[in-house]
């Protein structure tokens, strides 16, 4: 996929959602990884330079009408008509998707109540808060009862309560209504909460595809260690035992233990290297680790990785 002379997506191949309907797939990647471009290409907004893609069995390019009839799309940026009420806006969107006028009106009311905008449904969309606009965008994406909903950064700009409501609606969509969902986000925590699979993109390529449930089941552990002393040989010592570690500087380490390696190994290595332990925490492999490994931060040299790790802040935002 090229935009101008720049190649945005390259060599992407794979099958998503093969485990059936009602699943959520997270599309992750750093800014500029090509997540939105991939979505827009699948929706037929961009013409791919080569290759093909199918959604629900229909070719995205040659059968884009069939695809669009079955897909709901919630864009990342503001998209509505300011001086139009939410009901009217949704009616138009419903009718354009093929709902008969009367059904579109009924569904507009129904969906607006569903997303929590029932009381504000006659207000012009321009007067809505950011959170309400996000909900209105979600409402237009599901009014026609799509089989697949593509949500581009659905929790962008939402306060914690609204974010929780949005994630609850996404969970309901897949669990109660059997709608498959693609969530494109850079908020790892959101994806972790609602998604069953993740696809991680970097520089326009798929660098990792994981079934989160399986990853959660795998007993790989992630250790955070803080030590003092000369830890220059610690990375090599970890590798001897099949563990991977990266230092963030100042004696702080992030270590991934394979399932067969026990935590005791860390203690013995620390003793061997004459290091003093200030803190050691361990937990199961999280999406953050999967992501860091996928985008290459954990495999790089310690110095590079330390600089890159800073891109992930405490709340999981990239």
């Amino acid at each position: 996929m090229k935009l101008g002379r720049r190649e945005i997506l390259q060599g992407i191949s794979g099958r998503l959602g093969v485990s059936g309907a009602g699943k959520a797939i997270g599309l992750l990647g750093p800014n500029g990884a090509g997540k939105s471009t991939l979505i827009l290409t699948l929706l037929g907004f961009h013409k791919p330079a080569s290759g093909s893609a199918r959604i629900l069995g229909f070719d995205c390019h040659s059968q884009s009408r069939e695809v669009k009839a079955r897909v709901g799309y919630m864009p990342e940026n503001e998209a509505f008509i300011a001086d139009m009420s939410a009901v009217r806006f949704l009616r138009i969107m419903g009718e354009l998707s093929g709902l008969p006028p009367r059904v579109a009106l009924e569904k507009a009311h129904e969906v607006l109540f569903h997303v929590g905008l029932g009381e504000a449904r006659y207000r012009p969309l321009g007067t809505y808060s950011l959170g309400m606009k996000q909900m209105a965008k979600l409402a237009q994406a599901i009014i026609h009862g799509p089989e697949l909903v593509i949500l581009d950064e659905p929790t962008n700009g939402l306060d914690p309560a609204a974010r929780g409501r949005m994630l609850k609606l996404i969970r309901e969509m897949k669990q109660e209504h059997g709608i498959s969902v693609v969530v494109c986000s850079h908020l790892l925590r959101d994806v972790e909460e609602v998604c069953d699979e993740v696809v991680i993109l970097k520089d326009g390529r798929v660098v990792h595809h994981a079934n989160l449930e399986e990853e959660r089941r795998a007993n790989r552990r992630f250790v955070e260690l803080e030590v003092s002393g000369d830890d220059r040989n610690f990375a090599a010592a970890l590798r001897e035992h099949g563990a991977e570690g990266v230092t963030e500087g100042g004696g702080r380490w992030r270590i991934v233990l394979p399932p067969e390696v026990e935590l005791d190994v860390i203690w013995s290595l620390v003793g061997r290297e004459n290091l003093e332990v200030y803190r050691l925490t361990h937990r199961r492999d999280s999406l953050e680790e999967i992501f860091l490994k996928a985008v290459g931060h954990i495999e790089r040299t310690a110095g590079e990785a330390a600089a890159k790790v800073e891109e992930v802040t405490a709340d999981g935002r990239l």
Binding site: L3, G4, R5, R6, L40, L43, F45, H46, R65, E66, K68, A69, V71, G72, Y73, P75, N77, E78, A79, F80, I81, A82, D83, R88, R91, I92, M93, E95, L96, S97, G98, L99, P100, V103, E106, K107, H109, E110, V111, F113, H114, G118, Q140, I142, H144, G145, P146, H177, G178, I179
Partner: protein, 287 residues
């Protein structure tokens, strides 16, 4: 069950036909336009001239009502012929420009300004269908002030005049319809392209008027400065005037002929379509 208690359920019933969905956007747009007082006032004002013309047609077929005024000179003046319909069309064409300047910009500019195009195009609606839908809005607004009253006048005259009049002048009816249709398409393209190009309604409205009036001035200026006549073809009103004259069998005015004027109108339409093609996109790509 009350809608607020019903909860969400996926619609799995029959869908409307693709063709009928073309009328969704026009239907809502007409409703919105008719809620605007200015549009309604303009609409009403643009009916005055057809009403006056209808009275004229009636009187010309009932000269006895004029009593002592029905002399030879008056009879010539009251004659319903190509000149009469040509004058009618010129007046209504001006109203069409003004109406499109007020109604056209609200069709695309708000969609572009609010990023609504990606919502439209994520549904089974192509870019060409979107443009056709928007054009249908203007065709629907402009038809009642152009070819509809024009044909009503034509048939009114046909009904009142002797049967021979229709057989001798049926080409006028075709000319009214085709001439106005051509004009509506051109005016709509100008309004839609302006609306797509500037995004702000007021500026887009000014641009519509500007294209017609400034181009006319620029064409005259070019003719005067270069001492040529061909520049008149760049004036859309002048070019259309020549085409209508040809359709009605009237003597052409000096300057570019009907072929040159047709080419000029065609080039103009292509340029406007090019603007629409560049601007009506679901996402803007900055290269």
């Amino acid at each position: 069950m009350a809608v607020y208690r019903r909860g969400y359920s996926r619609y799995e019933g029959a869908l409307t036909s693709q063709r009928s969905r073309l009328l969704v956007l026009p239907r809502f747009a007409w409703e919105r336009l008719m809620q605007q007082r200015l549009i309604v006032i303009l609409f009403v004002v643009s009916m005055f001239w057809p009403l006056a013309c209808a009275a004229f047609v009636y009187l010309s077929n009932h000269m006895d009502l004029l009593g002592g005024f029905g002399g030879g000179g008056v009879q010539d003046f009251m004659k319903i012929d190509a000149h009469f319909f040509f004058t009618f069309m010129n007046a209504q064409a001006t109203f069409a420009i003004i109406l499109s300047a007020f109604a056209g910009p609200s069709l695309i500019a708000p969609d572009l300004a609010n990023g609504a195009l990606q919502l439209y195009f994520s549904r089974p609606l192509s870019r060409s269908e979107y443009i056709c839908s928007r054009m249908l809005v203007l065709i629907g607004v402009l038809s009642p002030v152009t070819w509809v009253p024009g044909l009503l006048l034509f048939f009114m005259q046909s009904g009142m005049a002797p049967a021979a009049w229709f057989t001798e002048n049926w080409k006028l009816g075709a000319g009214i319809f085709l001439g106005f249709l051509l004009w509506i398409v051109l005016v709509s393209l100008v309004a839609l392209a302006s609306s797509a190009y500037v995004k702000w309604r007021v500026v887009a409205g000014a641009l519509v008027l500007g294209i017609f009036f400034v181009l006319a001035g620029a064409a005259e200026l070019t003719n005067a400065v270069l001492r040529v006549e061909w520049a008149a073809a760049a004036n859309p009103a002048r070019a259309m005037d020549q085409i209508w004259r040809w359709m009605f069998g009237l003597a052409p005015i000096d300057g570019p002929g009907v072929l040159e004027c047709s080419i000029a109108i065609g080039v103009m339409a292509m340029l406007l379509l090019f603007v629409l093609e560049r601007k009506i996109r679901p996402v803007e790509v900055v290269s």
